[in-house]
């Protein structure tokens, strides 16, 4: 299970926080030591969460190759990265996969989200359940099933099998994100558009789409990072020469710790965080439908 559960939870958290009743006056004295204890505990937990990442980032600048000691600041490892053919090729592969998978998954996922949110049709319930499968089923099972499938239909493993696999499990994430966006969508806007003369296609193009676009982009960014970061499924279905970045990193890790891994990991880390931060921003509905605001009476 990955990102979106938390994404959607965090998404409602700010709104939830805004609804919090004002804190009732606390009793002083006996409660303070408990609060302090909890505060320290939380601090330690935050450290626990962040220290490994920070160490990784730190070590990517460490001149020393093997020991834990700090030998001096260097950008050598980053330099070496760009000269490392294997890594560069893996990056290229990852980008090809991520871009292709994102485009297709976003389009297909948006379409199905629209259908689920707006229309009833035969097989709706089954479709909804099927969309949960990629999220529920353990990644190894997905990977194993896919490689078996490709074997049975005699499709040679390649970069494109990776793309297909990624599209398959990314659709669900896009569908969830876009659906959430559609749920808050004010239907009277579409009615107003029809009322003013716009047919169904024009209504979608001029009203619905612009308003849900931030949600669609957020979904796209989400699956882009999921695709870039994916190891397990990719490792099963990638063919020879179709090494993606996580696979490359993994094989380097098995051999031993190399500083170049630190460097490429740091870069990947930063990329992911930036992309998701943007996605979160987009999901936070900057122009909530005004009519909905009035409806709160």
């Amino acid at each position: 299970m990955r990102a979106p559960e938390a994404t959607s939870t965090v998404d409602f958290a700010p709104r939830a926080i805004a609804r919090l009743p004002p804190a009732s006056p606390r009793q002083r004295g006996s409660v303070t030591w408990e609060r302090r204890l909890l505060g320290w505990h939380s601090l330690l937990c935050y450290l626990f969460l962040y220290v490994p990442i920070l160490i990784l980032i730190l070590y990517s600048f460490n001149r020393s190759k093997q020991t834990a000691g700090w030998d001096g600041f260097t950008l050598d490892w980053y330099g070496r990265l760009f000269a490392n053919d294997l890594i560069l090729r893996a990056v290229k592969n990852s980008l090809i996969v991520a871009v292709s998978a994102t485009i297709f998954a976003t389009i297909i996922g948006t379409m199905v989200a629209l259908a689920l949110a707006r229309r009833s049709f035969r097989g709706k319930g089954a479709t909804q359940s099927a969309l949960y499968l990629p999220i529920i089923i353990p990644e190894i099972v997905i990977g194993a099933a896919l490689v078996t499938f490709f074997g049975v239909i005699e499709l040679r493993l390649s970069l494109w099998t990776v793309v297909l696999a990624h599209i398959a499990f990314c659709i669900s994430y896009v569908a969830i994100v876009v659906r959430a966006r559609l749920a808050g969508f004010d239907r009277s806007l579409e009615e107003a558009a029809s009322d003013l003369g716009a047919g169904p296609l024009d209504t979608f193009r001029r009203v619905t789409l612009p308003i849900i676009l931030p949600g669609i982009i957020a979904g796209a960014l989400l699956v882009f990072t999921i695709s870039i970061d994916d190891y397990v499924v990719s490792s099963f279905v990638a063919g020879v020469g179709a090494t993606t970045l996580p696979i490359q990193i993994y094989s380097m890790l098995k051999v031993g710790v190399t500083p170049e891994v630190n460097a490429v990991s740091t870069l990947l880390l930063l990329l992911t965080v930036v992309l998701i931060a943007i996605a979160q921003r987009l999901q936070q509905d900057p122009t909530p439908s005004l009519s909905k605001g009035a409806r709160k009476k």
Partner: protein
């Protein structure tokens, strides 16, 4: 005014058709094929052994051979370890997360909540692989942990921290922690503090209030968190591969092994299916729980 009826009509189908095709072909079908294969036998070169007579095969002992083999003691010990690890991970996560979620939800000033929550989420946006690797850096013999311990004089020789059950456990807890914190936070945040005050008012001291009021009220969050942590934990593969040694093989590694190394797809499929079955049963139980309690599903 009655709810708007969703529009019916044939126009829905083009919208869902691509999804049906993709999910059907690249998800449902592979799973079905995997199920079928799990009843087969490994061929000489790693493929499938051809079956002459289907009828005879089904009634022969070979049909369920993989499943029978999967419950041999060797494998049972692996399942047991996976289960055990998942349980311990879940318990540890719960113990660590609850105070933290409580702090953020109940004690922290309102203007910081967003930030604190965001800080919890950021690490887990990043690649699982990379975060696990970070622990390799820390726990290896020349790594930070050993260096600190030696430098502070607590030990003379570097400890063998990596490639043990211990390192796998740390990796698991580390990876799953946000999944426990968030549902707990969601539940705690909804908690009406007046209820706690009422508890105090009625004579319960703090620990009693906690166990008799807070915990039951946040049960949905606890259950959701447990599910969100337990299920990925039993299917874990990367962490045990990187941080665990040959002794720490889990179900995930077993499956991967069968497919990549032993090239016994049928057997691997059988195990994969058993794992999936367990996951689905747990989720089903969760669905029943939420329906019975009439409580909102936090997932």
């Amino acid at each position: 005014m009655p709810e708007e009826t969703p529009r019916r009509g044939w126009a829905s189908y083009p919208l869902v058709l691509p999804t049906w095709v993709v999910l059907g072909f690249f998800f449902v079908l592979p799973l079905v094929i995997m199920l079928i294969i799990s009843f087969g036998q490994r061929g000489t070169y790693g493929g499938l052994k051809a079956i002459e007579d289907l009828g005879a095969y089904v009634t022969s002992g070979d049909f369920l051979a993989n499943y029978k083999r999967s419950i041999e003691p060797l494998y049972l010990s692996i399942y047991w370890r996976s289960l055990w690890m998942a349980v311990v991970t879940t318990v540890l996560c719960l113990a660590i997360s609850y105070p933290m979620a409580y702090y953020i939800a109940v004690i922290a000033p309102a203007k910081w909540k967003n930030l604190l929550l965001g800080l919890v989420v950021i690490p887990f946006w990043t690649s699982f692989l990379i975060r696990t690797y970070a622990w390799m850096l820390i726990l290896r013999t020349e790594g930070l942990a050993n260096s600190l311990l030696q430098w502070s004089g607590l030990i003379d020789q570097p400890l063998n921290l990596l490639y043990t059950d211990f390192s796998v456990m740390i990796g698991l807890v580390y990876g799953e922690l946000p999944f426990m914190i968030l549902p707990l936070y969601a539940s705690l945040e909804k908690l009406d503090l007046k209820l706690l005050e009422a508890g105090n008012d009625l004579g319960a001291n703090s620990p009693q209030t906690f166990f008799r009021v807070t915990v039951p009220l946040t049960m949905p969050g606890i259950v959701a968190g447990v599910i969100l942590v337990f299920i990925p934990s039993i299917g874990q593969f990367v962490i045990s591969d990187l941080l665990g040694g040959a002794k720490s093989i889990l179900v995930g590694n077993l499956i991967q092994n069968q497919f990549a190394v032993a090239r016994n797809k049928p057997f691997g499929s059988a195990i994969a299916f058993e794992l999936t079955a367990v996951v689905l049963m747990l989720l089903f139980a969760y669905a029943m729980y939420t329906k019975k309690k009439g409580q909102e599903v936090l997932l």
